[in-house]
């Protein structure tokens, strides 16, 4: 690409960072409030191909060493482009911008941060239009389904602020859509072996409907981590054949379990606490425990001080749960798993939960069915299993009343 642009362009510049002492100007970053980038799919008529516009001052009109607002709008059109591709195309801004010699781009959405190196400015990369030309070149040469593309760089602070709420709405809608992804929609899950130093037979599985036990790695984090470091502790798992859609048994997970557990177990139910439950490291955020007196479950999180309804504290239960074994009726979980539509689905899901610390009950109020919320006991209602059983009868908990049918 030598000669086409004022500076060189290519993947070799990807890891290059630009220090404060070396930048000519920076856009976005911690000192700038107004910033975003957004790719939008438009109709063919709406996009003027290769149009590059700068709204507000361009680089030569900015003071050297300063930090400035920036909104990047990229509009694309093409008969084969689907709405769902917008975020994928948007991530390419990060990739392509970092291909530019002496240009550095970090993060995404309304968190972006960019720096232009003094040397590249001197070489002639002295207008956002030049950046736009390079981006358009890379987009059209790497993604053939883009038939038309235009970019707008907004540096006028007021105009960036005007547009920002619209961008935030788009990001929010995307997140909502992602939250709706089901295990049925994907072919790959992700496994994490980070905790094997504590529990050598434990392997964690993250699916779109099951967050890893520690709560820190969801399916999207797994995907990102695997892409970043394919040899690392997070690996891709082909889910294979779904052997039991209710309990969440997949041939791919079973095969993984054999290898990663050093043959200590060969079947895993992702969504049941019985028979072949998912193992627990030592790092889980909470424990889902079976209460025989009620034939139901309690949940306790790590920060809960004092005894649970089982007369023992979290730490005692953690000792019984952890270590990478399959312990029936004792499951280390991430709290966010409570929001999953598949949460212990084989065992009755949230409708089989009868006790939680008040803090957790309140935090997950909107995830709890309305007819259930008041019927789950907390440490303020009961202190032992006998009191719990009385409480459940008194309030008419749907599980105790026999109103909950297990899926078959």
């Amino acid at each position: 690409m030598a000669g086409m642009f004022p500076v060189d362009v290519g993947p070799q510049y990807e890891g290059e960072a630009i220090r404060k002492a070396d930048f000519y100007v920076e856009f976005g970053g911690p000192d700038v409030k107004s910033k975003f980038e957004l790719v939008t799919l438009k109709t063919m008529n709406e996009v003027e191909h290769e149009k590059i516009e700068v709204v507000g001052p361009d680089i030569p009109e900015l003071t050297e060493g300063g930090s400035y607002p920036l909104g990047i709008l990229i509009d694309v059109a093409g008969s084969e482009i689907e709405k769902e591709m917008e975020p994928v195309f948007e991530r390419r801004i990060h990739l392509y911008a970092n291909y530019i010699e002496g240009f550095w781009h970090m993060a995404q959405r309304n968190d972006i941060w960019m720096r232009l190196h003094k040397n590249s400015y001197k070489k002639g990369l002295n207008s956002l239009k030049e950046i736009g030309k390079i981006l358009i070149f890379l987009y059209t040469s790497e993604i053939p389904i883009i038939e038309k593309i235009s970019t707008t760089f907004i540096t006028d602070e007021k105009k960036v602020e005007e547009f920002l709420p619209k961008a935030l709405e788009v990001y929010k809608a995307r997140d909502e859509r992602l939250k709706g992804i089901r295990e049925e929609d994907v072919e790959e899950f992700y496994s994490c072996s980070l905790c094997q130093s504590f529990a050598p037979t434990h392997i964690c599985i993250a699916t779109p409907e099951r967050v890893a036990n520690c709560g820190a790695i969801n399916w999207f984090d797994g995907r990102a981590a695997y892409k970043l470091d394919p040899e690392g502790p997070v690996q891709e798992v082909k889910k294979g054949e779904c052997l039991d859609p209710i309990r969440g048994e997949y041939s791919g997970c079973n095969e993984l379990a054999v290898v990663k557990s050093l043959r200590s177990y060969d079947r895993v139910y992702l969504h049941s606490a019985f028979e072949h439950p998912h193992t627990s490291c030592g790092c889980f955020q909470a424990i889902c425990f079976y209460i025989p007196e009620a034939d139901a479950f309690g949940i306790v999180h790590r920060d809960f001080v004092g005894n649970t309804v089982m007369d023992v504290p979290f730490s005692t239960m953690a000792g019984q749960t952890s270590g990478g074994r399959q312990v029936e009726g004792s499951l280390g979980i991430a709290l966010e798993y409570l929001r999953s539509p598949k949460f212990l689905q084989a065992d009755g899901g949230l409708y089989r939960v009868v006790w939680m610390p008040k803090e957790i009950k309140e935090r997950y109020k909107e995830a709890t069915p309305q007819d259930l919320y008041d019927k789950i006991a907390t440490e303020e209602d009961v202190t032992n299993a006998d009191e719990l059983v009385d409480f459940l009868k008194r309030v008419g908990h749907p599980w105790v009343k026999g109103e909950v049918e297990l899926p078959v």
Partner: protein
């Protein structure tokens, strides 16, 4: 790209030596300074401001995870990369990253792993990385900081100091981190190294790289709260650090 960790028990002048080393290396290249000892304030020694610490970043991330308030479509690794970058204090030739306090209860395996990736990525763009470690070397044992090429242990001319230095050397072996070379510098020496100390060093198998006399110019700077890197060039500590840089071939 060379990574040097400076370690030693309290009161041996570890942080001032780290600061002078950072300053000396900044004349040869750009330096990433990592303050991994929450009790010593490397930033003050360097005369740099302090904003955010990595510890705070990790706590905030863990809290956001617990609250479930993170955006689904942005990976935590990427968020962390950004936050680490934001926590960096940038100056002309030296950038500083403060690790802050070690973690509280709960699980930080994933968070620490992501931190390590972020910091490794960050360090790639520097000629030198210098880590000012606390005595227990928490960040090295938890692998939140990168593998090191040179471990420089600082001691005072006391048996306790040399014993502590020997223990740190053993600790590094036990941790099985990839450490290149390990050296000892004895600081605050008055009228030559006592014979008993020399013998103890020989016995410990530590590789002695420099003997630095007690520096009379430190106290006036400390009283004023002035950056310790402002020590006069002919000061014993400055000469000692220059000697170390030369001997290490940095």
């Amino acid at each position: 790209m060379t990574t040097v960790a400076v370690a030693g028990k309290g009161g041996v002048g570890k942080t001032v030596i780290a600061a002078l080393l950072i300053k000396a290396l900044s004349e040869k290249g750009v330096v990433l300074a990592i303050d991994a000892d929450p009790s010593t304030n490397l930033n003050l020694a360097l005369g740099l401001p302090l904003t955010e610490t990595v510890g705070r970043v990790r706590e905030d991330l863990t809290e956001d995870i617990t609250k479930g308030s993170l955006p689904t479509g942005v990976s935590k690794q990427e968020l962390l990369d950004m936050k680490i970058r934001e926590a960096l204090v940038e100056s002309a030739r030296i950038d500083l990253l403060a690790m802050g306090r070690p973690e509280g209860p709960g699980c930080y395996c994933a968070a620490n792993h992501m931190l390590r990736l972020s910091i490794d990525q960050l360090a790639k763009s520097y000629d030198y990385t210098v880590i000012d470690c606390e005595a227990g070397m928490e960040h090295i044992s938890r692998r939140t900081t990168r593998d090191i090429d040179i471990l420089l242990i600082i001691s005072d001319p006391t048996i306790r100091g040399v014993t502590a230095a020997a223990r740190m050397k053993e600790l590094m072996k036990e941790l099985r981190t990839r450490t290149g070379k390990i050296y000892l510098a004895v600081n605050r020496v008055k009228d030559g190294l006592p014979k008993e100390i020399g013998e103890a060093i020989n016995k410990s198998g530590l590789n002695l790289i420099a003997i630095i006399p007690e520096d009379p110019n430190i106290a006036p700077l400390e009283v004023k709260g002035a950056p310790l890197v402002e020590l006069p060039p002919d000061s014993p500590l400055q000469s000692g650090v220059r000697e170390i840089v030369t001997k290490l071939g940095l």
